[in-house]
């Protein structure tokens, strides 16, 4: 009876089902031919194929990075499939033509693509394996000049914008996974908000991996023109499978003068079972560049994936630019997360805020890795970092790796860090008031994450909180 907190039992992952659908899947393996095949399937212009090939050749010269604080058996890139699409999805189809089986899949995930039951005030792009199934609310958005469509569609209908901005924030040579993504990316979302327009709807992309042994390599590009603003949310789930699947995405945000982009993620990829078998390898590069007076805000709630490796970053290029990073990362059972951010201060009076909440349960390992870099011209730059870790049980770990480089002595940097164990006393206090242990833990954890949750769009804050309750379920004995 010495402790009410013991090791963990895995809770059923609610999104682990597989959709039985006929797919067009290319053979396993990755060669120049694969890259050409993907490009041809997507009917891409010559310049884009050329860009992919440059990325591929670069990737061949690179080695998989092993500096993150995670361990896994190395990935056999030739054993993966790089493109899989439901046969029923036709290019540029309207939502009325979407295969009912796919509609059912999304309905089961709590996302309605059909007109009547849509979440009000939210437009959705649904990505299934390598393709977009459809995008809702397009006409409403077109009325104010907002472009929100799949990446593949944007390549066809707005090639000039893609050509101008693709790779402008994350060059294909940036890192191993970014190069891989640039070579084989299949679909993703594209957003363009014209000058001075405040996007009237929340934009949201829902990523679903379905096919086995298939990687998802999506590419998201968001461009906020001068004075524009938008709030964008992505959600992710995948079936339960005993093999690891690779998800190597790239997200680029272009925030021109006086614009504002809020990017929220609720990541709930399959995490593997309680013994660490299966689950998604989530290796993602996300970066934005904020010009004068622009603001980029990343909010992430990371509860899924066997391994998460990502650092949504902001290059504070223009004067007075603002960068924010709010993160909740939860690891349970044998999950590993190495996540954080980079704030690169280039402009004068640039400001950044980092709030990171790491929760570790089971044998989970959670690392915060954050870089704050103040360049010589960043007169008056300011950063505030708060990095809190919470441990549930005795077998998990929390690690913090801050990197601070200051090349301008007018800069102000504040860093606060704390590690706490979820208290036996706190749980008992809640229990003595009638709450059971799981309710108690989700309450205590929600309190711990409050500063991050309040940054999420209203509709998703509750969902995130519930998700957190679910992923920690079974974390008390």
């Amino acid at each position: 009876m010495s402790s009410s907190i013991e090791s963990l039992v895995n809770k059923e992952y609610a999104y682990g089902f597989v959709t039985d659908i006929e797919s067009d899947t290319i053979p396993r393996g990755l060669t120049e031919e694969t890259v050409r095949l993907i490009s041809a399937k997507k009917n891409e212009p010559e310049w884009l194929l050329a860009w992919r090939l440059k990325a591929f050749r670069r990737w061949q010269t690179m080695t998989e990075p092993h500096w993150p604080n995670v361990t896994y058996t190395s990935i056999d890139y030739q054993a993966q499939t790089y493109y899989s699409a439901p046969k029923s999805v036709k290019p540029l189809q309207s939502l009325d033509d979407v295969d009912p089986e796919l509609l059912k899949t999304y309905a089961k995930l709590g996302i309605s693509l059909t007109e009547q039951k849509r979440l009000t005030g939210v437009a959705v792009d649904a990505i299934f394996d390598s393709v977009s199934v459809g995008t809702t609310m397009k006409t409403e958005l077109a009325a104010v000049g907002v472009i929100f469509c799949s990446f593949g569609e944007a390549v066809q209908s707005h090639p000039e914008l893609i050509q101008k901005y693709l790779g402008s924030i994350v060059p294909y040579s940036d890192n191993f996974f970014a190069a891989l993504n640039s070579a084989v990316f299949s679909d993703g979302s594209f957003v363009y908000i014209p000058k001075g327009v405040k996007c009237p709807l929340e934009l949201s992309t829902y990523f679903r991996i379905n096919a086995a042994d298939t990687g998802q390599f999506e590419r998201t590009l968001i461009v906020a023109d001068e004075g524009a603003s938008v709030s964008y949310l992505e959600g992710c789930t995948a079936p339960k499978r005993a093999t690891n699947q690779l998800h190597a995405a790239v997200v680029e945000i272009v925030a021109l003068d006086n614009s504002s982009v809020k990017y929220s993620t609720v990541q709930n990829w399959y995490a593997g079972d309680k013994d660490g078998v299966g689950g998604i390898f989530n290796f993602v590069t996300k970066r934005g560049k904020a010009q004068t007076n622009a603001k980029i805000s990343w909010t992430q709630v990371e509860t899924g994936s066997a391994i998460t490796w990502k650092y949504p970053s902001v290059i504070l290029q223009g004067d007075n630019a603002v960068g924010e990073f709010y993160s909740v990362a939860v690891v349970n059972n044998k999950q590993q997360a190495d996540t954080g951010t980079k704030m690169i201060h280039i402009g004068r009076n640039t400001r950044s805020t980092i709030i990171s909440k790491g929760i570790s349960a089971g044998q989970g390992q959670n690392s915060y890795r954050g870089q704050v870099k103040i360049l010589p011209k960043a007169e008056g730059a300011r950063n505030y970092t708060q990095c809190d870790s919470m441990l549930i049980g005795n077998a998990c770990g929390a690690h913090t790796f801050p990197y601070i480089e200051v090349a301008n002595n007018t800069a102000t940097i504040e860093h606060e860090a704390s590690t706490s164990k979820i208290g036996e006393d706190q749980i008992f206090y809640c229990k003595s008031r009638g709450l059971n242990a799981e309710h108690a833990i989700s309450l205590i954890v929600a309190g711990f994450c409050k500063e991050v949750f309040k940054e999420l769009p209203m509709e998703f804050a509750l969902e995130a909180q519930q998700l957190l309750g679910i992923s920690l379920e079974g974390s008390v004995g």
Binding site: M1, S4, S432, L435, K450, E451
Partner: protein, 250 residues
């Protein structure tokens, strides 16, 4: 209502309670006094279901049920309440949210509808008056940054809202100023009904002027060494505990 029989309990292999027997009937107020470290809080925590203590022998019967067989939350749902000697902080969770969650858990256990935040506000308003607490306290995180006295007052507020059948107050008077003491005691008295009972753990006769006990027990070295009426508390105030303690053998 509560029948403790020959209770032995230990923590970290150290025996703390060495045979406690105590019967509390509906409508009664019992005071437990005794030197520091004698086991008063241990007894209170065991009644509430703290998992950190091992009951090695003895029984606790509550309303005909085996209390020791119930989880802490089941005890709370069955009407047991402990006002903590050291109330616990829960950062980020508002007092209002926490208390409503607790209130609703108790309602659910009784098969009643949960109340929504608006309805709960009305319930709160009245109880806040009872303990003269400012409504702004409800929007602050549970006990976080509360002064010692505020924490104690918050415990009584919770008690007022949760309306327990058996309330155990562990040194709720410690750290209270004179006015707060009167308010807290007033709150406890206002909640007194013929069908509920209260156990107050205290070091001071002062509190017992406000909350008048039917019985006073002295706990020392893990045993109840003397029980009596309210006059026993006066005697203790005047003489201390030494005259009751067994002579020390050298």
């Amino acid at each position: 209502m509560l029948k403790i029989t020959d209770l032995h309990a230990s923590a970290s292999d150290k025996e703390i309670l060495k045979g406690i027997s105590l019967t509390v009937n509906a409508g009664e107020v019992h005071a437990i006094m005794g030197p520091n470290g004698s086991g008063k809080s241990t007894l209170a925590q065991i009644i509430a279901g703290h998992p950190g203590y091992e009951v090695t022998s003895g029984t606790i019967e509550y309303d005909g049920k085996d209390l020791l067989d119930m989880e802490a939350e089941e005890r709370a749902q069955a009407g047991v309440f402990l006002a903590f000697q050291y109330p616990v902080e829960i950062p980020g969770v508002t007092n209002a949210y926490f208390l409503r969650a607790a209130f609703n858990e108790l309602r659910k256990a009784r098969g009643e509808e949960e109340v929504d935040p608006m309805e709960f506000l009305d319930i709160m308003e009245e109880k806040l008056k009872l303990v003269e607490m400012d409504a702004t306290m409800m929007q602050r995180s549970v006990n976080a940054g509360f002064s010692g006295g505020e924490k104690k007052r918050n415990e009584i507020l919770q008690m007022a809202v949760l309306a327990p059948k058996l309330a155990v107050l562990d040194e709720t008077d410690s750290g209270l100023d004179i006015d707060a003491l009167r308010i807290v005691a007033g709150g406890v008295n206002a909640l007194k009904r013929p069908d509920n009972a209260t156990i107050v753990v205290t070091h001071y006769q002062r509190l017992l002027n406000y909350i008048v006990p039917d019985f006073v027990h002295v706990l020392a070295g893990g045993r109840i060494i003397r029980s009596g009426g309210k006059e026993l508390a006066h005697e203790l105030e005047a003489k201390g505990y030494d005259w009751l303690l067994e002579p020390v053998s050298v």
